[in-house]
């Protein structure tokens, strides 16, 4: 997931597929995290929520495969050149971690149910084949991993959310816009288009090279 060295015309925005997947998966993953901790703490909602949790989790697994392929084929826009190195490293590392967890969580969920001897029901009458042997120790390890990795995922998402909003509201460097919307065909009229994002996108102060701009 290394950012490629800027080619002559590096993209300023994530492509449409990346953006649609990013925001729909962000919603789905947040839902999964809340549904997950909510269902294991409920004496009444568990059956309904677990029936939602399994298929949505497997849908995330399928989507992250598409997303990774798209990401490898369409390099993301470079980070602003003036971003401190540690900051840029944190961004890259956290994106790697998010991808890893987006793969790991559903795979752990699926294999944990397999090891627990449960059918991995996706919808009534259809279950996935087991991907781990029915075994107490394997189940216990995976069951704990599902909890701890979920907590790590939630913590990482919170930091990622904070960083994204920091770019949007504090640095105002176009990083947020690179995921929020695509390149417009024409540059927006300077004054008429006064919404938040276009303000962020406007070269404020002398634009540093490579800053993501409209």
């Amino acid at each position: 997931m290394n950012r490629p060295t800027p080619s002559p015309r590096p993209p300023r925005h994530f492509n449409l597929v990346a953006r649609v997947l990013h925001w729909s998966m962000a919603l789905a993953i947040l839902a999964m995290l809340f549904v997950g901790v909510g269902m294991v703490a409920s004496l009444s909602l568990r059956p309904v929520l677990v029936d939602l949790h399994r298929p949505l989790g497997i849908a995330i697994l399928l989507l992250v495969i598409v997303r990774l392929i798209n990401r490898l084929r369409h390099p993301p826009p470079p980070l602003p050149a003036d971003l401190p190195r540690a900051h840029a490293f944190a961004a890259r590392a956290s994106h790697w971690l998010l991808y890893t967890l987006m793969f790991a969580m559903p795979l752990v969920g699926w294999s944990m149910l397999s090891a627990g001897g449960y059918p991995v029901t996706i919808f009534k009458g259809f279950a996935l084949l087991p991907i781990a042997p029915h075994h107490a120790t394997i189940y216990a390890v995976l069951r704990s991993a599902h909890t701890w990795l979920a907590l790590l995922l939630f913590a990482t998402v919170l930091m990622h959310l904070a960083a994204a909003l920091f770019h949007a509201w504090v640095r105002r460097d176009g990083v947020f816009a690179s995921m929020a919307r695509g390149a417009l065909a024409l540059p927006p009229p300077a004054a008429a288009d006064a919404d938040l994002e276009s303000v962020e996108d406007k070269p404020i102060a002398p634009a540093p090279t490579n800053q993501r701009q409209q």
């Binding site: 294991v40 004496l43 001897g117 029915h134 075994h135 069951r143 904070a162 105002r172 006064a194 102060a205």
Partner: protein
């Protein structure tokens, strides 16, 4: 934000504060909402974990690696043989005239794996049927014909009332009386426990599903049902003297002796509700004249000790159901699914952590004790 004077932005640090504050608020709210959903902020809320804690407290101790309830039992194997009559009610494959193999478990109520069979009022049968269409049906049934209470909260109170008093090591009778007074529906159960005969064997005990389920047939018609497994073995009740003299492990010994003679059979009788029957309250029986359909038989062919048997690492969650069978609005059913999962997770972790020598057959089992 809209009308920012670009020239004013770069160096003024105070302009960062509104943004930083908003971010901190958003992140903190998300974290708080998560913690609330997980139940971490509401120690008074009854969760499956806290329910299981209450069961462990009522058991008086934790028997590592064993089920938190119905801890003493034996694994069994056999098959369910449908007779075709159930197909009008449910599209579940097991009701076709085919044999569906199962891994089952016969047990007695109570949290001790060394409980005395002759003092266990409740006996149980659990089955996991794997049908040839790849689907699974798990059921866990008891010898009582109806549940003691009508709500999850009330069962929690009952569990607390049965916890041993540290002073005497026995449940506090005053607490139990207060519980019974607060839950008049419990009187019926108490009367059953007192007067119902004690069958001489697991083989001649009737096991009842107790909770209501929904059967859906091929045409999409839905029926609220309950079911029972009615033994083919001749009924015989123990006299109080026989019971007092019986060995604490007599059920297992009797089972072995009977299986040596041949398989054991039960008929599965499905009772269909009429409009107005109590479908969401397992403490209420349905009128006797309801339609009953014999849909097939449960046949047990062999038994193995639970420490090394295939039933040990199974959670007989009553909501693992095939197409054609659904849960109902009965709140006890949802609570069972949630609490069984916690009990299962705890015992599997204890086994994985090497803390469950007796439960896994690596240490000799204790004698049965009161």
């Amino acid at each position: 934000m809209p009308d920012i004077d670009p020239a004013a932005i770069p160096s003024t640090t105070d302009r960062r504060w509104p943004g930083l504050l908003a971010i901190a608020l958003i992140v903190a709210s998300a974290a708080l909402a998560f913690a609330w959903t997980a139940g971490w902020l509401t120690p008074g809320r009854l969760t499956p974990q806290r329910f299981t804690d209450a069961i462990e407290a009522a058991n008086g101790q934790v028997w590592q690696g064993f089920r938190r309830a119905h801890a003493k039992g034996v694994c069994v194997a056999g098959y369910f043989e449908g007779n075709g009559q159930g197909q009008a009610l449910s599209s579940a494959r097991v009701f076709a005239p085919v044999r569906t193999p199962f891994v089952g478990r016969l047990s007695i109520g109570g949290g001790s794996p060394y409980g005395l069979d002759n003092q266990a009022r409740v006996r149980s049968m659990a089955l996991q049927l794997d049908s040839d269409d790849g689907q699974q049906w798990r059921m866990a049934m008891n010898s009582f014909p109806f549940f003691g209470v009508s709500s999850v909260q009330a069962f929690h109170e009952q569990t607390l009332a049965n916890a041993p008093d540290p002073a005497t090591g026995k449940p506090d009778p005053a607490r139990q009386a207060a519980f019974a007074a607060a839950h008049p529906e419990f009187a019926r159960f108490a009367a059953w426990a007192k007067s119902a005969p004690w069958p001489t064997s697991w083989a001649n005990t009737t096991f009842n599903g107790v909770n209501t389920f929904r059967f859906v047939n091929r045409a999409g018609e839905v029926h609220d049902v309950r079911w029972s497994m009615q033994p083919r073995a001749a009924f015989a009740a123990m006299t109080p003297e026989q019971r007092a003299a019986a060995d604490g492990d007599f059920l297992g010994e009797d089972l072995g002796a009977r299986l040596a003679q041949g398989p054991l059979r039960w008929d599965m009788l499905v009772t269909v509700a009429q409009p107005g029957d109590a479908v969401a309250d397992p403490s209420q029986s349905w009128p006797e004249d309801r339609r009953r359909v014999n849909v097939g038989s449960v046949v047990i062919e062999s038994a193995t000790p639970q420490a090394t048997g295939a039933c040990r690492d199974i959670n007989y969650d009553p909501l693992v159901l095939p197409a054609g069978v659904q849960g109902s609005d009965d709140p006890i059913l949802a609570a069972r699914s949630a609490v069984y999962s916690v009990s299962f997770n705890r015992r599997e972790h204890e086994i994985a952590g090497g803390k469950a020598a007796a439960a896994t057959g690596r240490a000799a089992p204790q004698e049965a004790t009161p």
